[in-house]
Symmetry: C2
Subunit: 765 residues, 2 copies
């Protein structure tokens, strides 16, 4: 167990590294060349332009203004200055509500910490159990920190009453704040929805599992059905094509196109030597060929295939999946259709709110109902397997990735590997790196699992991935640290233990792990957040792209990677801090300041990021809040049960019924919140729909809604992110002409008419 | 443990008693005086008249036709003859579907029994473990029955594979039959709903928690809200008065009225002596007074109070509860309103389908939303307490109700009580009787608990009571018999056992309890069902009423108590047989024939009863089926887990993963059923609503729906169960006149004008 000074050292190291990250950030963000990395949001909004080109060249890249450096920390008040309403306007409701989670952490834990330091710390410190304990059991080393924890209170002491009372106070405080916050967020959401401008998804419902009809096409069937069953409300609909193959082609062409540009740039810089590539995988092996010719031809071929596929999809009735986006004359009509059952068979004509167009996950629209059930079952089993036995494949990889096997496969490395320092480095680090890589890949695996489950909106996919990750972290980080051993071993142990033993096992270990979790908070929390603001990876990527791919301002815009709030990753991880704070609030309150610093720091950083950097892909109007609320309540219940277990080992058995009431009450609070608020996040009330409709009819009586909705729900490969694909098409045409000419003439063709100048030159080889 | 011959004896005794009940029934039902007890349904339908009055008087009471007695069992084919469609027409869908549960039992268990007898019985019988076991462990006595059970298979035997395979076969068969049945019932329900005539509840929605408005009354507020938010669809509405006090008065008056009739009859039979009563509780003590005068005055007084209360309720805006029945122009409009959320705040303007008028539980309409949550929580805790500690109060009562305390309280009984035979009788029986009384009262307690929970439809109340009773029986009868000890002790034991130990404990005890459950099936099942058909209690009550209260044919009609399917009591009890059958199908298949006989017998009896006797109070269109299906699946999962536990003690550890798949698959099946069918029982699809609307508009374009709906949802005390209350009112008026006259004249008044003759005579005292 660590002593207080150990923790001080660790805290200093981590604070220092966090501070260094911040300094690096503060300097880097002032360099004009990094402007697009640290302020992409403003570029996307069109508010920020490239730094002015007057003055010496060096000024384009490096900031030489010394005064700027003196105001290194200016970004902090700037980040906090923007008022909430403006923030919502600027970054969307999702982001604005997301940072409220950190604020919520502060609201919960600052008063709790004050109370705990005022009441529990003195009670624990004067408990005097420490000396007895340390004398009795030499094997378990108690650190100084334990003097401030409940471990220092002797068994059956009357002092434990303080902890029980505090458990009640903390629970009520947390619930009170949660309730208030839920109410605020609900109001924010409803106001946001009410003030939203007209959007296609307000009028549109997604209908899935349209039954097949012998006499009618899907499109006719949908039209007839809704015309009959929603008379006066049905407006229009859009069938969905199975364009997955086409979408893949478009992606591939984009990739090839990037490569072509890369080689072209290379050639322009060194016109003396034509760049070459190899035909094999990633250009690593195979025949050596002329790169520009090769990619030009490939793009040409793919372009023709794409045109054919595009025609096939539009012409082929088989390519129409039994799903459609149905639009109504009013929001009221759409709200009615989304909330009601259409036919006797609840597996057909399934209607639900359409996700906003950006949010649709097109691939999953075609999955039939029965298959969905099977997929969900399979994924549930897989998730269980992943959570409880993820260590098995990792251990196998770790065993394979040891020195002996490396020497076997790559014998030429033997002399290097066998060197003492390298060897110990590999042996010490490799297993850790394998685990780290797995943890980095994990969210992607979980996302793939959610995709297999068949949700049709990206926001749903992200919510489900977050739920999975939360479960994983809860079992493998929290429980895994407390009850040491792999999750599978824990599971076995728990299965073989009685229900009343489990909280005991957890409860007893909790105070012993306090120092571990304090370190965890500093490493994963503090340093992690500081790394977030530095954006090292996007920084590097941006400059690489800038060097190799960027030719025009538009390219530069595309090279910018603003990223977004990685909600399905950050939220579950941040829930861990709520859990830790709640669990330790009564046990080892000295952990609380670390949590508070984390929340305050993260709030600051993320507020800065959502103002200046992130660009959200879609807007769900804070639909994630019920999940956030539920998970904090889960944390609260876990904390109550672990305290219960801990106290039952402290020979305070008569405290059990008193404490048992807490989880029951907390669960009742959860049910209450769910009933009271959740439907605001799932349904759209008719009254609000009616108000918006009436208002719109009064202000814009001439609105042609059908025209407005015409292309909203067209698969992106058809409307083609219109600008983006058109570009490629233009290029293609030029290129086709160019290659035809070149093949005919056998030599260089001139600049072909109508094609952008700086590109056609390349093709005309 | 019982031997085979023990069971044979028990079976004979129970069959004999069941047979005697049946013979008694067969004879009693032929007597004309009992006609209204055994065929009330036909009287209510107006098809059957009183037996013809020609012939000698004795013929009115006793059937002297010998030929009839020769065809004693004629009722059996008669009960089976009616085809299902006619049955639905005659008795309603609820009843018709209810008896399908017994048929479902036969469909599941007959093939399972055949397979089990063909495969498992030989495997068990030749297992040869019995001799070894009985030698080894003398303390546990194995009966002959165990030769046919899995106990006879030695541990780690390859024969156990047969049981595992059979567990799979049985599970798949059960699920297959459940799926088919669910489908059939769903279709029956939907067809029933589609073919239903116009009913007020098709157009009506119940709205609760209407927010209070400073400027408008509840009625105005409701009208404005729905006129705005359901334009073109809103038709009319009916506010709900808090008439609970008034309803109590009406009930009390009815009761007084009965007493008055009783004394009047008595007086008429012996005009020499005026009947007297006492003013105290139940007429047991207090001042002796003239009964007829007393009750006449009381009725008079109450009648005036009632009129005042009625006026107060209708006039007082405070008496209007914030709930209303809102009716729409079309079924489509009502379906839309019932399935959607109306406003931002999901605790206000709560809309749901209106129960049919007979089904409304008026008392609960006024409960506000938050209170509902609190009530549910409290009742959940109370139910938990009731299930796990119901033995505590019972034990206390049992201790109090022993001989010593009886002697103390009633010392004069001492000489009688002290007699040897009486003493042993009391000591042997009294505790049992206390328990029996509790079990009889239990459904009423559970019903009261459901009422407190605040459901607004009688059908909901019954469904929730059934759920509570099922839980109670599952814990206290099934688990209680298997793991001996009270439920509280079991709970403690289970809490102190590991999760993997629990199925083991249950599994090991299961085969040992086979004989107990066989006896249980015979006593509770066979004899219980036979007692059902005899209707001893209604028979006695009818004749008592006939003697004391009945004067006219109408009175006789009222004295008839057709009763109804006591769904909240019979269904949970019958689920126990499914559970037993499934649990023992792989373990001790010899139990299955007993179950099959129960189902066949019960099917026959209940089919007879619903045709000839029961009169359902409301029609829910089989809305209980999801519960039935779910509970059978719970039984299936319990059976799988107990087999798992049993086999894990048989050193067939590698069977665990194989068997673990079963509950997972079964649960998946449950989810599938729920998704596929349940909404047909909860929602009303728009398509069906539209079809019915269109049809109606075509066939009855002149229909005045507003007029049709006018009084549908008036509280029964206002429209007064019109016939019933009007009667009383008429009587009142007559009576008021009569008493006025008598008080004026001080002597007998003549037959007053316009009042039914045979009654006014009474009042004119």
């Amino acid at each position: 167990m660590a002593t207080l000074s150990d923790i001080t050292v660790s805290a200093s190291i981590n604070s220092l590294s966090a501070f260094l990250f911040l300094v690096a950030f503060a300097i880097l963000r002032l360099q004009p060349m990094n402007d697009r990395v640290y302020f992409p949001k403003w570029y996307l909004k069109g508010i920020r332009e490239n730094p002015s080109t007057s003055g010496p060249l060096v000024k384009h890249y490096v900031n030489l203004d010394v005064r700027m450096y003196l105001r290194l920390l200016n970004w902090i008040p700037a980040a906090l200055k923007m008022p909430q309403l403006e923030l919502i306007e600027h970054a969307g409701l999702d982001s604005a509500v997301y940072i409220r989670i950190y604020l919520l952490g502060l609201k919960i834990f600052v008063p709790i910490a004050l109370l705990a330091f005022g009441v529990l710390l003195p009670v624990n410190y004067t408990g005097g159990n420490f000396s007895i304990m340390s004398l009795k059991m030499k094997d378990i080393t108690f650190g100084q920190i334990d003097k401030f924890s409940i471990s220092n209170v002797p068994p059956a002491s009357k002092r434990l009453a303080a902890h029980i009372i505090m458990a009640y106070v903390f629970t009520f405080w947390t619930c009170y704040i949660l309730y208030k916050e839920y109410k605020i967020v609900t109001d924010m959401r409803l106001n946001f929805l009410a003030s939203q401008k007209r959007r296609p998804d307000q009028f549109t419902v997604i209908v899935r599992n349209v039954p097949s009809d012998a006499d009618e096409s899907v499109s006719e069937h949908v039209e007839h059905f809704f015309r009959v069953n929603h008379p006066g409300q049905y407006l229009t609909h859009k069938v969905v094509y199975n364009a997955n193959k086409l979408a893949k082609m478009v992606d591939k062409k984009k990739d090839l196109h990037n490569r072509l540009i890369y080689y072209t740039n290379k050639y322009e810089r060194r016109p003396s030597k034509r760049p070459t590539t190899k035909t094999g995988f990633w250009g690593l092996w195979g025949k050596k060929i002329d790169a520009i010719n090769y990619y030009t031809e490939e793009i040409d071929k793919l372009g023709r295939e794409e045109v054919a596929e595009r025609e096939r999809v539009i012409g082929d009735p088989e390519a129409v999946v039994p799903a459609a986006f149905v639009s109504f004359r009013s929001r009221w009509g759409a709200a009615v259709c989304a909330q009601t059952q259409q036919t006797r068979n609840p597996t057909r004509w399934l209607t639900d709110w359409a996700p906003e167009p950006r949010d649709v996950y097109w691939k999953n629209l075609a999955i039939p109902f029965v298959e969905l059930n099977v997929r969900k079952l399979v994924m549930a089993v897989a998730l269980f397997g992943l959570i409880f036995s993820f260590m098995i494949p990792i251990t196998i990889v770790q065993t394979l990735a040891n020195i002996e096997s490396i020497e076997k496969v790559l014998p030429f490395l033997k002399p290097i590997v066998e060197k003492g320092s390298t060897k110990s480095f590999i042996q010490g680090f490799l297993p850790g790196i394998v685990l780290k890589i797995f943890l980095l890949v994990l969210p992607m695996i979980l996302m793939e699992m959610s995709k297999i489950e068949g949700y049709v909106a990206v926001s749903d996919l992200e919510a489900k991935s977050a739920a999975k990750l939360y479960l994983f972290l809860l079992v493998n980080v929290f429980l895994g640290s407390i009850v040491t051993g792999t999750a599978l071993q824990q599971l076995k142990e728990f299965l073989n233990k009685s229900a009343s033993e489990i909280p005991k096992t957890v409860g007893v270990s909790v105070p012993m792990k306090a120092t571990f979790f304090i370190t965890y908070i500093m490493v994963d929390g503090w340093a992690g957040i500081a790394a977030e603001v530095l954006r090292l990876f996007p920084l590097i990527m941006y400059h690489l792209k800038n060097i190799f791919l960027v030719k025009t301002d538009k390219d530069r815009d595309e090279a910018m990677d603003p990223g977004s709030l990685l909600w399905p990753i950050t939220e579950p991880r941040l829930q861990l801090y709520f859990l830790l704070g709640l669990v330790y609030s009564t046990v080892t309150p000295i952990l609380l300041p670390f949590i508070i610093i984390f929340f305050a720091f993260a709030y600051l950083i993320f507020r800065h990021q959502i103002i200046n950097v992130y660009h959200q892909k879609y807007e769900s109007a804070a639909s994630f809040w019920p999940d956030v609320n539920r998970r904090i309540i889960i944390g609260l219940i876990i904390s109550q049960l672990s305290l219960l277990g801990l106290l039952s080992t402290k020979q305070a058995a008569n405290s059990t019924p008193v404490l048992l009431a807490l989880p029951v009450l907390t669960f009742a609070f959860h049910k209450f919140c769910k009933n009271r608020f959740e439907s605001a996040f799932r349904k759209f009330p008719l009254q609000d729909a009616m108000i918006k409709d009436t208002l719109e009819r009064a202000t814009e009586p001439q609105l042609n809604l059908k025209e407005y909705l015409k292309d909203a729900y067209t698969h992106p490969v058809f409307k083609g992110g219109e600008v983006e694909l058109m570009d490629i098409d233009e290029v293609d045409e030029c290129h086709v002409v160019a290659t035809k000419r070149s093949s005919r003439k056998g030599s260089q063709a001139g600049t072909s008419d109508g094609c952008p100048e700086d590109r056609t030159g390349i093709y005309a080889v």
